[in-house]
């Protein structure tokens, strides 16, 4: 059942893999130097020549690329090929500034699709499966990316896109979807809507797997999804700059497999820029090894994770990253303390008395930052006793304090009152910026 899409590459001995990466890095550096005035200038400023890059470990001689570089060269200033090579654009939403435009050659699309074909195969999907793609289609990479990957492995694609939830659930039943790809928060919403329609995802559909990503989520949410719907929930990772969604966990659910022949990943200390030891938390830095319209050299993606170079028990030799803790952009600083929404989520999802949706509100009262967390009550645990409700909100506050080290006000709200999202959920409302 759990097969390999590309066994020769996926199980390649580590030394051979490193040699392949070194070779691809050398040609990439030569290529961007010859094709991009941006990178030529960067290399000059850093005092590095293409010939200085001889082996994989020389990667640290190369300068970093930042999100601000993408904005400053908007729309296509960092492309390495003329537009007539480009077969598709995707454009990121640009919530914090100008959007980012990504261009793909036909080869770049094929590389992206290959990456997802390996990933989908590694969670046990194949020709027999019906994969419902409920990520948004269009400028966002999620829908089309998964669509192509699913077709490549011979699965049947049900391209519902995001939204129109009741119809999605009907189609899921009528056409027998066995897997779904969407944001974890949208799937939780879908489960609620299904229940209201009298449909049990566990008993009334054939769904067995979910590919969830595009927003940070936690193992506790995974547990909730798996226990309430009976499916296996897999984490998927990738950003629009890198192509889109690219990598997933394998069926063992123990870290996301990063295809090392396609991408070179480093985890660095964001303060010093030095690589951290294996197993230490740091910021992810990406170099694309087989992407040509819009390649990236040591791009500071901003996601916080841990790298694991141990080969996986599934037989794949490629490195893994642990679940993304959050993006440096998502991090909120409350009274000088760094808080990732995913930390809050992992606390909340451990408490059975509260619902699946939450919202963090940061505000300023006088000179002080105040953080409050809205959580929904659940029908099954609602007690008529005020004392029980008070003690529930105290418990939530105490557990949050234990993890975050700051005091948060906990507000119990009625079910269904926190806004549901079809795509990326808005977990944080920061009123200080207004």
């Amino acid at each position: 059942m759990f097969e390999y899409w590309n066994p020769r590459i996926e199980r390649m001995p580590v030394d051979d893999l490193h040699e392949l990466q070194g070779k691809r890095l050398r040609s990439l550096v030569r290529y961007v130097h010859d094709h991009s005035s941006f990178y030529r200038q960067r290399f000059r400023e850093a005092g590095v020549e293409p010939d200085d890059i001889k082996k994989l470990s020389d990667v640290t001689k190369l300068p970093f690329t930042f999100k601000i570089d993408l904005r400053n060269t908007y729309p296509t200033g960092m492309f390495c090929l003329p537009e007539n090579w480009v077969v598709r654009y995707h454009v990121s939403s640009g919530t914090t500034g100008k959007p980012t435009v990504v261009g793909y050659t036909q080869g770049d699309i094929d590389m992206w699709t290959e990456s997802l074909a390996r990933a989908l195969t590694s969670v046990g999907l194949g020709r027999e499966d019906v994969i419902q793609v409920s990520y948004g289609y269009g400028l966002f990479t999620g829908g089309l990316g998964l669509h192509y990957g699913a077709e490549r492995i011979g699965a049947t694609v049900l391209p519902t896109g995001a939204g129109n939830t009741e119809r999605q659930i009907e189609l899921m039943q009528d056409l027998g979807s066995t897997a779904i790809a969407c944001t974890p928060s949208y799937f939780l919403h879908m489960n609620e809507v299904a229940q209201k329609m009298g449909v049990s995802i566990r008993d009334d559909t054939k769904l067995k797997a979910g590919i969830f990503g595009a927003e940070p989520w936690s193992d506790e949410t995974r547990k909730r999804i798996e226990e309430s719907t009976g499916i296996k929930a897999y984490d998927i990772y990738g950003t629009s700059e890198m192509s889109g969604p690219l990598f997933t966990e394998c069926h063992l659910q123990n870290g996301i497999h990063i295809w090392a022949d396609l991408f070179l990943l480093e985890v660095i200390d964001p303060k010093t820029g030095e690589q951290v030891e294996d197993g230490e938390r740091g910021e992810l830095v990406v170099t694309t090894l087989n992407k040509w319209a819009f390649p990236l050299i040591r791009y500071r993606i901003g996601d916080i994770t841990i790298l694991n170079n141990e080969p996986c028990e599934c037989g794949r030799t490629h490195p893994r990253i642990m679940r993304i803790l959050g993006r440096t952009d998502d991090m909120i600083v409350v009274r000088g303390i760094n808080v990732f929404p995913s930390q809050v989520e992992s606390v909340l999802m451990r408490i059975p008395e509260i619902g699946d949706h939450y919202q963090i509100i940061v505000d300023r009262k006088g000179p002080l930052d105040v953080m409050s967390v809205k959580v929904e009550m659940t029908e099954s645990t609602f007690s008529d006793k005020i004392a029980d409700l008070m003690s529930l909100s105290k418990t939530v506050a105490r557990l949050l304090k234990g993890v975050l080290n700051i005091t948060a006000e906990v507000e119990l709200v009625e079910p269904g009152t926190i806004p549901r999202s079809m795509g990326k959920a808005q977990h944080v409302i920061d009123r200080r910026k207004v």
């Binding site: 006793k385 119990l412 709200v413 079910p415 269904g416």
Partner: protein, 144 residues
């Protein structure tokens, strides 16, 4: 069993919530017999006894309210000084704890009724009956 069902509703403490509850019941043709609100900062619990619990419960749920049912006792209080003492004392002497209570007067103002939430409903019903206190049944509450 002498206990009747009380409806409890979780409500955020914000304008319009009470109206929402009242409208849902009114539209369903459910009449409220007695009501009390316990508030605790951001939220509160609305507790009520209605003529048709089943219908009230369903109507509120359909409107998305979080509702639960709780067993309470509806007992008659003699409309004379010391009426409440008699009830409270019998419960106290028999180690039954009253968690909360609220009273109402019936439409014809013939009787006062006390809704009691106690830690041991069965025991409370026994000791009150022994003391000669009348406990209203579901049917009686419906017909008041």
């Amino acid at each position: 069993m002498a206990a009747i069902k009380q409806i409890s509703i979780f409500a955020e403490n914000k304008p319009g919530r009470m109206a929402g509850v009242a409208k849902a019941l009114g539209d369903a043709g459910v009449n409220i017999r007695a009501l009390t609100i316990a508030e605790a900062g951001d939220f509160g619990v609305i507790r009520m006894v209605v003529d048709d619990t089943e219908r009230g419960y369903t109507a509120l749920r359909e409107k998305g309210f979080m509702v639960s049912e709780t067993d309470v006792l509806a007992v008659e209080i003699k409309d004379v000084p010391g009426g409440l003492y008699e009830i409270a004392n019998s419960l106290g002497m028999n180690n039954v704890n009253v968690e909360y209570a609220y009273a109402f007067v019936t439409a014809k103002a013939e009787r006062a009724m006390l809704i009691l939430r106690v830690d041991d409903v069965k025991r409370a019903a026994e000791v009150l009956s022994e003391a000669g206190v009348r406990i209203a049944t579901k049917g009686e509450i419906q017909q008041i």
